[in-house]
């Protein structure tokens, strides 16, 4: 039915989201840097000065390896969940392929992510951890992470059209995940029986993998095969999200 240019449309939707988000802010893109920096400072203060019984060296970059993926995850998931309902005018009036709306929303957040990744890498180098060959894993891992978030967002944005409570569920889930994902603690202190759950959680796998590459300077896979697990869960989530979305999208018109 719609036989336009997917890439051109996607590009325009991403640029639109990005411009709208930053145009009316005087500090613009600077905000993307501020949030993780402030949290990094606070968490470092708490875990190094207030409760100085942890033995993690380089705590600031350790925690930044957790904050950057988490920050992207929670912003992309929350905004993505709202994207279909917020673009009701477009969905009800223009026959575009509807999957493109939530996906564009996630991809527009990756611009913000790119800035934060640059910040993270800068810190890593500043802390004296050099560049190593394992950095080549990074693009693949980020792509898998984005695929994972796209899958989640496809599911929750479609459900949000029918049940507007969805957005609050997502918000709460993000708050809970901040604690359940190893942002300011290591996997070593997690009880053994839960370790597998952590490794199959793409967000946790991402954080663990980042630390292996950037801080320990070793391959992200290790014994656990983290990247394979990340690839597995991300692909499955994406397929499930997409199939749920394509089931629910037919009735968007009636419910928006």
């Amino acid at each position: 039915m719609w036989n336009g240019d997917y890439l051109f449309l996607l590009e325009n939707l991403i640029v639109k989201d990005f411009k709208i988000r930053y145009r009316n802010m005087s500090l613009g893109v600077f905000w993307s840097l501020l949030n993780p920096l402030v949290l990094m400072g606070v968490l470092t203060f708490v875990f190094v000065k207030v409760m100085p019984n942890n033995n993690v060296p380089n705590f600031p970059i350790f925690v930044l390896c957790g904050l950057v993926p988490f920050n992207f995850f929670s912003i992309a998931w929350n905004n993505g969940t709202l994207s279909v309902a917020n673009n009701a005018g477009l969905i009800k009036r223009i026959p575009v392929p509807r999957e493109i709306v939530p996906i564009a929303s996630v991809l527009s957040t990756t611009i913000h992510l790119a800035i934060q990744i640059a910040l993270l890498l800068l810190f890593v180098v500043a802390f004296g951890r050099g560049v190593n060959w394992h950095w080549l894993w990074l693009p693949l891992m980020w792509v898998l992470e984005i695929v994972f978030v796209c899958g989640l967002v496809l599911a929750t944005s479609a459900l949000d059209v029918y049940l507007r409570d969805m957005r609050y569920i997502v918000e709460s889930a993000c708050t809970v995940l901040f604690w359940l994902v190893p942002i300011f603690y290591t996997l070593d202190i997690v009880p053994r029986e839960y370790v597998t759950v952590y490794e199959f959680n793409p967000l946790a796998a991402m954080i663990l993998g980042l630390r292996r590459i950037l801080i320990d300077g070793v391959s992200p896979n290790g014994d656990a095969g983290l990247v394979y697990k990340l690839a597995f869960t991300s692909t499955v989530t994406f397929i499930l999200g997409l199939s749920l979305y394509s089931r629910l999208k037919n009735k968007f018109f009636d419910y928006l």
């Binding site: 336009g4 939707l13 640029v15 709208i20 005018g89 009036r93 223009i94 029918y162 018109f253």
Partner: protein
Amino acid sequence: MTVIEFKNVSKGFHRAVGQRLLRHYLEDLLGKSDPDSFHALRNVNFAINDGESVAIIGANGAGKSTLLSLVTRLAPPSSGEVIINGRVAALLELGAGFHPDLTGRENIRLNASLLGFSRKQAGDLYESIVDFSELHDFIDEPLRTYSNGMMLRLAFAVAVNLDPQILIIDEVLAVGDQQFQAKCMDKIYEIRNQGRTILCVSHALGILQTLCTRALWLDHGQLIMDGPVAEVLHAYEGRALHAPSE
């Protein structure tokens, strides 16, 4: 050749009574139909041939916009079959897909891509779109500073430049000033004279009379008359005079 065909098409909406009930979603997912749903269209049958220009008339809430959303496949029918051959360009609502914080130029690009232009087409047509809209001085201002008429100019300029095989217009012409309305009508005639199919919803019967050759009259979701535009409009006006509250 038939470009649009409706076979026994009905479209129902759930009576939400102010609340979206979980039961409705489950019924939707299971594909059951709700006995107390409200029918915006009921057993509509018609076929439109290539090159016809057809008016759709009826009172507020009769189901005209719903019918157009079925033609554009924005909504699926509850029962029956909708068959469409050809590329549809819909001008369903003033500035659908426009964003107030983007400038005129950015909105043209965005809207062009939404309507299915390629990057090259959008670039090539940009000048003629701006020329048609006559908004050169405002093109780099954000859209929220535009008047309704200026927004219509922009929206219309993008849609008519797409070179659609089927053009769908849902009463968007009312906002422009006289001069621009005349220009739009010229453009629509031009499209019609190229042998394109036109579906036009309007309460301005005068325009329909000259633009269209055939009219469909919808009343409470039912197609009650389908014929040459003069006859249908005549009957419709007679009915409207006698039963103004309908």
